[in-house]
Point group: C2
Chain length 277, copies 2
């Protein structure tokens, strides 16, 4: 199986792909759009994209692909804890570190650790946490990077400090995009998007009432501005259940007449931390 993911190797995108299918041939891509394109063009059998982070919220690029650009379906989800680590040349002494490299988002998520540990260090941006390791290793013992354990291993860097992120509830939800239609398992989630013909009080409430009337729990709701006009919205809902089960099929049938458009991104097994990948 060829599995596309946001690269380069050593990033969280690769970690998610390895968790989904440890034996897969990995196809690193430069953007989430390129991951979807790789699957659509036949260069990969499936693709892993980040969809939501507990600190940063939804990944807009992925939502826009699902809303506007692809007919691929979500096959599965995987939730990964995001652990940031301090890595550098083997033998680096913490007191000699004067420069810390990482992606700005990772630098932001480790701000308190860095300020406490290296109050005088210069922060330098990198395009990815993996590139940060390369940049740190080019210097000799006075630099460190914030990156994954695997990025350190891939580049022969040493782990100087583990789990340095400020918040310990930093997890990212990834979804697997492909052409399949997973069968109901009894513990599924369905992701949909819908729009209304006009922006009118009560439209959204009328849709949510259909879920409530069937006792269906919505696990996520979000309005996103459409690309056309800031202020007109696409609504995104995740609900518990499968579109091919009676309750899921009934609620979808009930809301279609209320909406201008309904798009089903997929029904797929809910992630359980202890599930086998």
């Amino acid at each position: 199986m060829r599995l596309a993911h946001l690269g380069p190797p050593g990033t969280f995108g690769e970690a998610a792909a390895l968790r989904v299918a440890p034996g897969a041939t990995l196809v690193p891509c430069p953007s989430h759009a390129a991951v979807a394109a790789a699957v659509e063009g036949g260069d990969a059998d499936a693709g892993v994209v980040a969809i939501e982070n507990s600190l940063n919220g939804s990944v807009a690029e992925t939502l826009d692909i699902l809303i506007h650009e692809t007919s691929l379906q979500i096959q599965a989800e995987v939730v990964l804890p995001i652990e940031h680590n301090l890595v550098g040349c083997p033998g680096t002494r913490l007191e000699e570190i004067t420069v810390v490299y990482s992606h700005p988002q990772a630098l932001g998520q480790c701000r308190r650790f860095v300020e406490r540990s290296f109050p005088k260090a210069q922060l330098e941006a990198a395009l990815s946490t993996a590139e940060a390791v390369t940049l740190a290793l080019r210097r000799h013992g006075d630099a460190a990077a914030i990156a994954t354990v695997r990025a350190a291993e891939l580049h022969g860097a040493a782990l100087l400090a583990r789990a340095i992120q400020d918040a310990d509830n930093n997890v990212t939800r990834f979804v697997v995009l492909g052409r399949g239609r997973p069968r109901p398992t009894g513990r599924d989630r369905t992701s949909i998007a819908f729009t209304f013909a006009e922006d009118r009080p009560g439209s959204l409430a009328s849709v949510l009432d259909e879920f409530a009337a069937r006792g269906i729990n919505c696990t996520k709701i979000e309005s996103r501005p459409t690309r056309a006009v800031f202020g007109e919205y696409v609504f995104l809902v995740d609900f518990e259940g499968h579109a091919e089960e009676p309750a899921g099929a009934a609620v979808l049938a009930a809301i279609r007449p209320l909406c201008a458009e309904v798009k089903v991104f997929g029904s797929y097994p809910r992630w359980h931390a202890n599930a086998e990948a």
Copy 2:
């Protein structure tokens, strides 16, 4: 008036602050949290923070400050088009550019322009679009930065190409945080957050029904995972109207018994593109 904003000078945070109060004394801060802290600590009279971008969605850091950390109220909003420009040393020739610097998000938003114009150029990350200008100017004529017009002016750089972003509907909504309570103007927006004691089908629908019953239009809705447990949610709603007007006051009174907690972030005039700041 001292107005705090996300710095450094030449970034979009400064542009929003200048739009809010052109004559203000600006107080650049290193993070959105620092903007709120500057206002709370008395170092600034008000602070401008980004809350939503049309391409990237909500700014999670700002939402978390409003939800968890501050009792400041939203005083006003401002919507700014995000224009990215190519800037460099005066006299730089486009065909000699081999390196392009910017914040990874700006690089991503200009990906197609850069690939088309500089297919062989190396992309280099910066901590901000303003820092990118400094990095590009350190080289001599073979580098460019993606940044604001003002960043170019502040650093004595030349504008090499204007409005190079791939999407032309890239706008950011900023809000002004302060201690005031703006009076109703007849065209206001109110932003609130609420939680439920238990995760039960129909809870959210019951709240939205109260808005629908009063003909109140909700202009935004979003569920955000609480910090405590991934999968438990805070709901964020923007609605048209003012919390001190009869309809706004009535809907807030009606939903409080349905929720575990309701927090009003503020009622403030809706932005009009032609309004005077």
